[in-house]
Symmetry: C2
């Protein structure tokens, strides 16, 4: 994997670049649609490609449990299994283990439950109703499957092995994603674990990549055996000292790129991202995990983020919440029942070119599957192409004007505090 | 609308032809996918076109209730509303009024409840859980909406007006679809009503078509104002005398084509279809309503049917039941979890060309929306293309060989009684 920075923003950390992977180039910054279970919900991969997506992200935790990473390896890897020939990212499973894993036995050591609405919880998986409990040891995490109650144990090595079975182009080190409700002492301990796990993830990855090179002429074929890049994850919650410590340590390791994980308070997310990206090596790509609302994309890009993933565009789409340049609309509202305009005038997405708000309203009220499909196409197109426009504004040296203009129209109360 | 017979089967009523409509030609015999609420469930219209469908059928009853036929007329008609530029058929709403309409007040005159499994109930709508009650008068039918309890009254004139608002290329006369559990006296009375309603439907249609011709240069545009063809519906249940009487009477009216409606017993459906088609004018097209299993398609075509519609392929698809040349399979069965073959070897559908049984199994077990989409594409492709192959076998003069070969492989117990 190679990363080339094409242009930098003046007086900020932002940049536009190109990330070369074994399955094609990603023009950065880029938004990465999430296909939790090896499917972008409600869409074929052709539809995902048509709406402009360059790369997708699948969830290691879900695919490990079902259908199983060994099965996917036998099929020739994730690209072939899900019929997507572009770049794929898998996360490490760490976030899901903590957010979905169900504790077993009596010794429950962690309960993530966040009630403070000012906290921004990354949206990185598309499931819902599972208690958030898992058991953490120094060596890894035990958890009960939310599907069948079976007990699993994931270590950094195991996470990397699973991700090598899946065969994504970019994979992540195994990390502990702490709750913002944990105290500083716990955050510091967890960060130490994440750092040890990062080293172990890297060692396992290098071992497997080495074996892969020897194996290049083997029978498994390119899909499974193509080189993979490993990103380390910076944690540290809202604590400046921990975030900086983590960026320094993770940034010093020989990763191909970096993820920024954990929960933030919406109002100081930009500060946390800046802390980290001022320290991380400039020449390597950075992925802000689970963040994807328009205002957060501008914030992240301005502060040096190259990749974003988030389930919000598709999850909201399935509920009838649609993005427009003037803010979100709920297509189920009565006013759209006989509105013959497209969701958004001049939008070039498949949905807007061919269907009216009235038809979408009809489909949503009729609980038709096509509703979620057409809405997902529009929302993903909106977000993917917003990031493409931001990229272009960096190249054209008018990022700040574009941001100002877009957010003034998009947010009814812009400028708002959380945007500085 | 013009219908041209290209080739006839020797010693039977079967034929291959071309039906010219305002929105394109239909090569007959043809299978018509059902889009109850102006959407073939889970598919875009491009996907429906890609899988080989030439024409689709939408349900007047559903669209009248939601979003409303006037709204669709204002949008320029059903073609524009649902983004399908090929031929569209709408049924008269009669069948749905009887099967979905909920009776109001105390005077419930009809309760359709069929428990005898030998009866083949046409599958013409894709809803389920509504009591089957409505109130029938000589002039029309009153019913309560299954959506909001509102009370509606449909007469033959009203049904035709609604169908003119929807603007389909082929529309149907308003009929009463009787339950096979009704006695002969009731069947005879209902048939008389259907015949009076047929005359009134035809008169209303001719009036509206006449106005349309005067209006040709009006502002509404082609989509709404294009000529529509009206098919009359033959009823009469399982009774030979009634079926023949109905075919004779309906066949004598100036319809553009005919529908064959009502419930049959599976074992004598072919007899009932033959009774009717021996009487109906040979030069006009015939549509067997709500029937679409492979063995029934052969039966119908052999007995002079040109068009079929049925929700079975898509409804079964969403439950994981998939057609193959060797019979149906349930993709949720354990054996498919790690089966890397396509649903059917050599199948040219989008699903089989790109996805494995293992991936479909994974999607179904994960309750992913893509499961229903990919399965619907395969099942519709299977049925639509089976009818195309049957058509070709008529042109190639090897229909009976093809039927014998196909059914021997498809049905584990062929020849079986119901197929003669």
């Amino acid at each position: 994997m190679k990363f080339k920075i094409e242009k930098k923003l003046k007086n900020s950390l932002g940049r536009a670049g190109v990330l070369k992977t074994a399955h094609g180039d990603i023009l950065t910054p880029a938004f990465v649609p999430v296909g939790t279970k090896a499917t972008i919900k409600a869409l074929t991969t052709e539809q995902v490609l048509d709406l402009g997506a360059q790369v997708i992200l699948a969830n290691t935790y879900h695919l490990y449990l079902q259908p199983g990473s060994k099965l996917i390896a036998q099929m020739g890897g994730l690209h072939k299994f899900m019929h997507w020939n572009g770049p794929i990212i898998t996360d490490s499973g760490g976030f899901q283990v903590f957010s979905l894993g169900i504790a077993y036995g009596k010794d429950i050591s962690k309960l993530t439950k966040i009630t403070d609405p000012s906290f921004l919880i990354p949206e990185r998986f598309d499931d819902t109703d599972a208690p958030r409990l898992a058991k953490i040891g120094q060596d890894g995490v035990s958890f009960k499957s939310h599907l069948d109650g079976s007990i699993h144990y994931i270590t950094p090595e195991k996470s990397i092995q699973i991700q090598h079975d899946l065969g994504a182009d970019i994979i992540f080190a195994f990390d502990e994603c702490t709750s913002p409700s944990e105290d500083l002492k716990y955050q510091a301990e967890a960060l130490e674990r994440t750092h040890r796990w990062a080293e172990r993830s890297l060692a396992e990855h290098q071992k497997l990549e080495g074996g892969k090179k020897q194996d290049l002429k083997g029978a498994q074929g390119l899909a499974l055996r193509s080189p993979q890049a490993l990103f380390g994850i910076v944690q540290g919650g809202r604590e400046e000292s921990l975030r900086k410590k983590s960026a320094k340590f993770i940034g010093s390791l020989n990763f191909d790129g970096f993820g920024i994980g954990g929960s933030f308070a919406k109002e100081d997310m930009s500060t946390a991202v800046r802390w980290v990206n001022e320290i991380l090596p400039e020449a390597k790509p950075r992925h802000l995990l689970g963040i994807g609302e328009p205002e957060d994309l501008f914030m992240g890009i301005e502060n040096g983020v190259d990749l974003f993933d988030c389930v919000a565009p598709t999850r909201q789409a399935r509920n009838g919440t649609l993005y427009t340049g003037k803010g979100k609309i709920n297509i189920l509202n009565k006013e759209y029942r006989n509105n013959f305009l497209p969701i958004e005038k001049n939008c070039e997405c498949y949905t807007c070119k061919n269907y009216s708000r009235a038809y979408l309203s009809h489909l949503f009220h009729g609980k038709e599957m096509l509703a979620g499909m057409l809405a997902s196409i529009h929302n993903l197109y909106f977000i993917v192409n917003l990031v493409k426009k931001i990229r272009q504004s960096i190249l054209d040296e008018n990022f700040f004007e574009f941001k100002e203009k877009f957010l003034r129209e998009y947010l009814s109360s812009y400028p708002i505090d959380t945007l500085e």
